[in-house]
Subunit: 299 residues, 6 copies
Amino acid sequence: MFLHTKHLQFESKPEKPDPVYAHKLQELLGGAYGEMTVTMQYLMQGWNCRMSGKYKDLIMDIATEEIGHVEMIATMIARLLEGAPATATTKMAAGDPVMGAVLGGMDLQQAIVSGGGPLLADSNGYPWNGRYIVASGNLLADFRANVAAEAQGRLQTARLYNMTDDPGVRDMLKFNLARDTLHQNLWLKAIEELLEDGLEDVIAPNSLFDEEHAEHASAIWDLSEGTEGTQGGWASGPQPDGRHEFSYLLDPQPLGGVATAPPPDPALYDTYDGAMGEPKGPVLGTETGPLGKLKDKLT
Amino acid sequence: MFLHTKHLQFESKPEKPDPVYAHKLQELLGGAYGEMTVTMQYLMQGWNCRMSGKYKDLIMDIATEEIGHVEMIATMIARLLEGAPATATTKMAAGDPVMGAVLGGMDLQQAIVSGGGPLLADSNGYPWNGRYIVASGNLLADFRANVAAEAQGRLQTARLYNMTDDPGVRDMLKFNLARDTLHQNLWLKAIEELLEDGLEDVIAPNSLFDEEHAEHASAIWDLSEGTEGTQGGWASGPQPDGRHEFSYLLDPQPLGGVATAPPPDPALYDTYDGAMGEPKGPVLGTETGPLGKLKDKLT
Amino acid sequence: MFLHTKHLQFESKPEKPDPVYAHKLQELLGGAYGEMTVTMQYLMQGWNCRMSGKYKDLIMDIATEEIGHVEMIATMIARLLEGAPATATTKMAAGDPVMGAVLGGMDLQQAIVSGGGPLLADSNGYPWNGRYIVASGNLLADFRANVAAEAQGRLQTARLYNMTDDPGVRDMLKFNLARDTLHQNLWLKAIEELLEDGLEDVIAPNSLFDEEHAEHASAIWDLSEGTEGTQGGWASGPQPDGRHEFSYLLDPQPLGGVATAPPPDPALYDTYDGAMGEPKGPVLGTETGPLGKLKDKLT
Amino acid sequence: MFLHTKHLQFESKPEKPDPVYAHKLQELLGGAYGEMTVTMQYLMQGWNCRMSGKYKDLIMDIATEEIGHVEMIATMIARLLEGAPATATTKMAAGDPVMGAVLGGMDLQQAIVSGGGPLLADSNGYPWNGRYIVASGNLLADFRANVAAEAQGRLQTARLYNMTDDPGVRDMLKFNLARDTLHQNLWLKAIEELLEDGLEDVIAPNSLFDEEHAEHASAIWDLSEGTEGTQGGWASGPQPDGRHEFSYLLDPQPLGGVATAPPPDPALYDTYDGAMGEPKGPVLGTETGPLGKLKDKLT
Amino acid sequence: MFLHTKHLQFESKPEKPDPVYAHKLQELLGGAYGEMTVTMQYLMQGWNCRMSGKYKDLIMDIATEEIGHVEMIATMIARLLEGAPATATTKMAAGDPVMGAVLGGMDLQQAIVSGGGPLLADSNGYPWNGRYIVASGNLLADFRANVAAEAQGRLQTARLYNMTDDPGVRDMLKFNLARDTLHQNLWLKAIEELLEDGLEDVIAPNSLFDEEHAEHASAIWDLSEGTEGTQGGWASGPQPDGRHEFSYLLDPQPLGGVATAPPPDPALYDTYDGAMGEPKGPVLGTETGPLGKLKDKLT
Amino acid sequence: MFLHTKHLQFESKPEKPDPVYAHKLQELLGGAYGEMTVTMQYLMQGWNCRMSGKYKDLIMDIATEEIGHVEMIATMIARLLEGAPATATTKMAAGDPVMGAVLGGMDLQQAIVSGGGPLLADSNGYPWNGRYIVASGNLLADFRANVAAEAQGRLQTARLYNMTDDPGVRDMLKFNLARDTLHQNLWLKAIEELLEDGLEDVIAPNSLFDEEHAEHASAIWDLSEGTEGTQGGWASGPQPDGRHEFSYLLDPQPLGGVATAPPPDPALYDTYDGAMGEPKGPVLGTETGPLGKLKDKLT
């Protein structure tokens, strides 16, 4: 269960309105790496976490913080839109270059749909959606996604930092940048700890190493012209997991047969000249199951 | 420019058809962490790479390999669908439990839309889309996303490995597992090398450290009940970036003011009682620009 | 079956072209509360209506009108785009502020994709989709959605009314505003009539009142800081349905246990330390069904 | 800023796992009228609310509660999935009708993607998205959408109540049903209060009545065959807003001209025979603006 | 403006309910090539048509018919769902294989969301959306899309025809198949007529032939291994447009330079070693425009 | 398996950067008829092709070429963005009309998300998705979709050609125009050859002519006011398939019964007055199947 305070985690107040910047800031609210994504990603990871204790508590701490970040950005956008020429006409835009520039840069739906408020969408107007998040139940795989999300988040925040010189906006972004720095460090540290605790190892998931074709876990295939890739540390030597050696396959040849699709079911009307014969029937291997016996009895 | 060979990178041939498994395998083709995602993610990263040399060549090598993985999964799906009871009626499904189980587990569009072939969609029928990929231009941030994608990819492949006992399907998945192991190692190694080459550092982007509010880059806020989080290595001590110390803020108080939205433009018809006065006009600071002078002249 | 007349329900002719406004008007065509939504919402409600008679006939009357509204907006957009500088270059935009303002405000796809015509998308270019509509079969629930849709529709129309001073555009919007007024009144009246006819009551659906936990149908939980909410009419007294009393729970405490997720299936590779033991198997309760007997026999 | 307690608002514990029901319950989590929608709808309405006081506090109270409902449903889904035959093969499904029925009814991504946990998607696997919510700034229009959302939510909950007989699941749903009853009453009461406070009236927005074509705010057009609609209370008499009378137009004739699209820009290559002449140029009305004067000067 | 009759264009009545088939039939209602697509595609083409006369009238005739086809399929789905075990429990499905097969094959949202009615979605539950349609203004390009849509539509209808033996359902599909046959012939004929009328030619658009690099309009590049393609009629001889000859380029070599991305803006934090120098500034060519003069004056 | 060369198929180098044009060019990369669509459409058609030989080889040749077109457009976009004022402030835009025009026309995500590179999205920022492609297995139906796609592609390219005068951009577009011309001719020729080879006929699929209601394959129904349609060649005479005659039905009457939905399941809470009685139960016709016998035995 959640509780809400009226105060923002950090101040979110522009010195002056700037409706064009309000448009850009949508990326940090509803973009693929915006605050909605980390909020829901961490909440779902926390609820899906299979152990009580430090990991779950940490995830829920950060998740709960991120809801407050959505609140900060949403509030900032509404304030940046104060006094925006939202209902100005084309004539007004065409007759005054300053207004033309502002109107050309605004998000139309912030006026028409939200009445001067934020949208749950990114800076191109595309709505945030649930396929952006990952909560797989495997903490190593998920924490890596978290590091990646915080890295993209800080990168976009840094770009947006350079797109404004409003001291109030920058003050909030300086807080966000610092939190993104901390959170990158945090998930990196949590990954270390998963390994120290023996819960996971370098490769996710930490399993099926005996089953996988180990002979294909070494060589990078040189499938794009040029061999500059061989100058990297990945061209030879031990791999980070300590299990494998790197190598570079410079003249790669396909190992599989020719790619073909089987004869089609005639009732699907695929174009087919019959050259490959009839399709085989599905063999579902129920010969020994109880229904197999049942069928024998009844037919 | 690309060239295509007829042969698959690795054999992709089931021993027996299995239309239910063909449904599940869609996740590896068109899911958020399937082969389409890594293909387009790496291609776009390669085309967007700002340096010639080892990194770009490596990215393009792996990207080109991944197109071939899309081909392998697509071919496997078509072969698993051979002889599927695609046009069976409800009566047939209801009258035979084996067929009922198979029909209930099939992807309807693999029959109706693709005529017994694969879709560019995931195992819930949702189409692959371009917001799944990331190619930010910052190689550290992107390589982290690549590690994360390969980790999720191997995890899903491992889960799918346990959902079949067909030797042919498993043979292909053993190859995929090995490649996902290699690619995790690879991107981890490439991240190390970015740091060794001095191109990036632990935090992405490697910049704005003087601007960000450093005092907020240390403390995890205990916003979710319970203090088990303080038992982690992230509760104190140096952070992975070597710049900051970890700490835990156990009684967090909001630092910002009350969250409020400003007085609205009356022409937008937001509900408002006028208590906060009139909205201020946007102040765009053009007083000293050339248009400012122009306006002065003309008005 | 439908028939079409060549004439528009109401005139839809701008005095002058205005390609920027054509962009904004997309919201009324393909937005979440645009004409496409009410068209398809009402059609699907009508086809899904379980009674012949006045309700179904009414729904189909309004639904059929709304197709004509899509036609009106689509026609208006095409006319607003007449003579638009659709193929002007960046140089032309940069060299002439009037053209710059116009080009900056245009919808790129109206030119590139539609050749100077409307799109089935909203003012941010996002396509209309079938998840926008609701046709649940419960007329009370659906008519409420209709009132809500007409209210949002009139609100957006009013905002757009203030964004133009073209007499022709305004003439059409004056018609649309009036229809949205009528349709709000209409669905409100139809809700009244559902109650008078004894088909529904205040709460949708009008059922399961004995089953629901009635003790939790009274109190608003004060989960957000501040008690201003208690100054509202919802703080005490009878509820609109006449069945319940309002109250305000000022010190809410959670009623449930700790949120945890169960031990995972090892074959899914979730991170887990085993502390919670093994997962229990699914218990599907078929012990007494015919298959249960069958299994007993066969095994 | 938000805080989180470990305890659920209400218990969310099934007596027995049921992976098929876990699939259905996704609708209440990530469907268009599920808990994610009301959570984000109310949060955005609260942040976009233009007045401090009772309305804003109420909205934030309910919004904060709804985050906890997402948590309850997410926890329930994970628990329903305990021990699910997530990695069973097609052979196992085909060989045992009970398992076949269970596997055929499961959500594939709950296993492959989430490792036995919930998704941010509906019961057809479609991800939740930000276009589902409405936060227009007009409280009347938005509260109506809230009533509608709670009505659809209670309706779907009631349907799902009948799809299970698990006492634990039903216990939670009985709480949800009661909250949905309360919340319908609540938003209905809040609408009443908006009118009593003089902030809004029956029609949203409460404006532009002098501008709209009042003569078209009365008549329902009989555009669908049959006159049963005239038997309703909407056929005559005063409208709920007290401003208009209802009437029924039984022989409706279009009021507008023929729908036509204007001559196209030749550079867009629309098919056109020239019969309508040349397109007129856009007339943006800047003749008297400062740029008009500027152009005169410079050319 | 549109009118509606109560009667269906053609009977749409199943002999018996079949809820599994109701799921499959969603493809014809809301799929990419279902009735919603042709309805909206033709309506938008008609409204966007730049000539009065036979083409526009034809498009509107067919478009209006297609709305009635949406109605037919929607009605059929509701009728197929009569008596569906929509609220049956998992226990019931697991305990009775017939019910298990039926429940496993049903569309969950047809019960939970629509109350036993159709959805605006395809057979995998994905909502219909406005990006499915094309209405470019160029009739040749659009009529080709129409032929393609009718071909896919008839193909899917034929596949679905084989998935039922209900005489009532088949009776309706026989009508649909016939209409799809007619409509394919129709759009093919209309393409012929566009050429006869001199409005279009073989290639769309019928323009820019002098500008395009004619030397690259002949040769198919043999970029995929194997030369079987040269056995086709497209390997040599005149092309259908009468302007070009076919040829096959068997040893294709790239004509362009190496693919590289330019030096990045430092404020975007792309990874870059500086090897390519500084980015050049944008050159927008306004030196001679009025603003150029203006700038000169004012600075 | 695929291989990659470093060189582009054709040069893709603008004379000068133009960030506004980079925005427009997104349509050719990630639009519904852009290069991503034809790439994935042809690849999936090739992998789904049911015959070895000339058709499959041709499809794969063109498919492989199209990946290289994605590369060309992606490279062009990155180069057009060189030196773009990506991080300029609103003040800078408002203070300088040239910069205002440029910033107003840029794609915000090309800066914030991609760091000056391309997106997998169209010119309105909507991501490319897998529902755009068609690969049905029926080559006639698919080749028609290919002709249609190349026609729309050339049309959009032609429109974009007129939106730039940069010689480098135009040089690339001249190549693209020529390829689109060739590919239209190519798929038209391949359709001819399918007929000559006896694999398909005029109507897709070439089947079910005896089953379809042939009496409804002739007449166009005059459902939209006006009879100009009868002036077309489709009003009478033989149809292109040689099987049918065209006719025009000038006074069309519906052939079906009244559209109604059946009595609902009470547990779904649809609004219903009981006038139509009880719903009938599903009749699944298993009376003679093995389970029918089993049930008889066990009950």
